[in-house]
């Protein structure tokens, strides 16, 4: 019954928001918060949604997204394109993505350095890939194809991972830098993912960030994680998006913002979702860091003049 949606430009959708949106904090948009958000009136921040949740033909999801989009910039975050997989991208999915981007005119569009489909099975998880010349070619081809399909650049998000591939020949930061260089895509730096992967693989998050091409960052993600243990009883962090941002991740965030200036920042919270005021307060904490950096920049400019 769910026909593929085509590009359906809505006449009611004003294109009021410039790209980029600047140093503002946003949150994941969850339907259970719609009434509270609308009651609050227009927010200064942006909202991010998982693109796939709005790929149905009609109904309440689109009504909710239209209500949010009327007064706020939107970030369209794809989680299922399977860019990191070896097989060709799903053409129907690309067409749906293009239709959604045309309809809602998001300020930002992003996808993951990961894969989720193999042959005909969709695994609904962000699965890891080895970093080699061969996978680099595939990823670049897929990003070229997606950017061509939606007619705009995307932001590619660094993954959180729990294991590594024996065949990997390059570092994740080298891989990501090459992808950005070859495809012209921007980057979505998920600082929680950096912290989770650094812990899980035993590398330094600060070294990773020092090596990350910060000039390509178009958005930052912050989220909560969970702690388990690996086979040796060592900490294994799980990218669970089900709680507040950890103190260590806030610290890394301040360091990144200090280095690269204010960047749109998302508080990502996808399960065990709190009441709207809790999520809003988390975004306000990020906004305070962004504002402080903005003030420092202004003060510096004055000083220089």
């Amino acid at each position: 019954m769910n026909a593929t949606i085509g590009p359906v430009p809505s006449t009611a959708m004003p294109l009021r928001f410039p790209i980029p949106v600047g140093g503002v904090a946003g949150t994941s948009f969850k339907h259970e918060h719609l009434a509270a958000i609308l009651a609050d009136g227009p927010q200064a921040g942006f909202f991010e949604v998982h693109a796939e949740n709005y790929m149905g033909a009609g109904g309440p999801p689109h009504r909710a997204l239209e209500a949010i989009r009327r007064d706020h910039p939107l970030s369209l975050h794809g989680v299922c394109m399977s860019i990191g997989g070896p097989q060709p991208l799903d053409k129907a999915h690309l067409a749906r993505f293009r239709g959604l981007a045309a309809r809602y005119q998001p300020a930002m569009v992003s996808e993951h350095l990961a894969w989720s489909t193999h042959e005909t099975s969709f695994f609904n998880d962000l699965l890891p890939l080895p970093y080699t010349e061969a996978t680099l070619r595939h990823v670049c081809d897929h990003i070229d194809e997606m950017q061509e399909a939606i007619r705009r650049p995307i932001l590619l998000e660094n993954p959180s991972t729990y294991l590594a591939f024996a065949e990997t020949t390059m570092s994740e930061t080298d891989f990501i830098r090459s992808v950005a260089g070859r495809t012209g895509c921007g980057l979505l730096l998920d600082i929680n993912n950096v912290f989770v992967s650094a812990t899980n693989h035993g590398f330094s998050a600060l070294d990773y960030l020092a090596d990350f091409p910060l000039s390509c960052i178009g958005e930052i993600h912050l989220a909560g994680h969970d702690e388990q243990a690996d086979d040796d009883g060592e900490p294994l962090l799980i990218d669970s998006h089900d709680g507040p941002v950890a103190d260590a991740v806030w610290k890394l965030y301040e360091i990144v913002i200090e280095r690269c200036g204010p960047v749109p920042t998302l508080i990502e919270w996808d399960s065990r979702i709190p009441d709207w005021p809790v999520l809003k307060a988390e975004a306000a904490a990020a906004q305070a860091i962004l504002d402080r950096r903005e003030m420092a920049e202004l003060a510096g400019d004055r000083h220089a003049a």
Binding site: G56, G58, R63, P86, S121, F123, F165, A166, G202, D231
Partner: protein
């Protein structure tokens, strides 16, 4: 041509939904450390998120069976029939027939039909928006040509036929209200519509499902009425057509080629 080398994805994927398989040999922990629990994170993410997806699509079924029963049943389904679309709201179309075959659900022969109603509910929820037919349009049709009228179904409209009290059981278990004992043995056909943004599930009177099904196949009103009277001699044509229109089952009417 030489065979394609096995890709990392082909090596990584098979054990995701098969707990009997070991973690693939192509992956490792840091400094060669064990990878078992690390790979299990992915296995767990895949399995749990897909079970959660079925629980979100079939909340009444889960309420009836209890969470542990449901999740065990859903785990079997997820492992045998993983989704083929990245759109999770499309998942689980074959879950009702799986439930019908599931050994431990045989004592609840009506459970699969409740699942069918829930699947139809979600399809109606995501269906294309369309304005339902206004009753005035039917009132304006010339009475002598009513039998030739052909109806266009609304994109959300569906019918689920059941030999059991599927609609009553669905309704009793879909919200959080306390459930009292339900007689499951009465045959109930469901009409699922979404005239605005709220999905409606109604119990069709005897003959109503045959009637609505014929109309949805674009058969003329006269023929649909004959089918309904065949199924149920007491069938009330006027009340049924009014009920269908009021529920938003159609978007437009036209005179057929007759």
């Amino acid at each position: 041509m030489p065979p394609e080398p096995v890709t990392f994805a082909a090596a990584f994927a098979p054990a995701l939904l098969d707990p009997m398989r070991a973690a693939p040999p192509v992956v490792t922990g840091p400094n060669g450390r064990a990878v078992g629990k690390r790979y299990d994170v992915y296995r767990n993410n895949v399995t749990v998120s897909l079970i959660d997806a079925l629980a979100a699509i079939y909340p009444a079924v889960q309420r009836i069976t209890g969470t542990d029963f449901f999740r065990a049943m859903a785990r079997f389904h997820v492992r045998s029939y993983p989704p083929t679309s990245p759109l999770l709201f499309e998942y689980g179309r074959d879950f009702p027939s799986f439930v019908a075959r599931y050994e431990h659900a045989q004592i609840m022969p009506w459970l699969a039909d409740v699942a069918r109603v829930e699947r139809a509910w979600l399809d109606a929820y995501h269906a294309r928006d369309a304005a339902p037919l206004a009753p005035a349009h039917l009132a304006a049709a010339a009475p002598e040509r009513l039998a030739d009228l052909v109806f266009t179904p609304h994109p959300a409209t569906q019918i689920v036929r059941s030999e059991f009290s599927a609609v009553t059981i669905f309704a009793a278990n879909r919200d959080g209200a306390p459930v009292s004992r339900v007689d499951a043995s009465t045959s109930e056909d469901a009409l699922i519509t979404r005239p605005g943004f709220d999905v409606i599930v109604r119990h069709l009177p005897p003959g109503g499902a045959a009637f609505a099904a014929r109309l949805m196949e674009a058969r003329p009103l006269g023929e649909a009425a004959a089918s309904a009277l065949d199924a149920s001699p007491d069938f009330d044509i006027a009340a049924n057509i009014a009920g269908l229109i009021e529920a938003g089952a159609f978007t437009s009417i036209a005179f057929g080629d007759a």
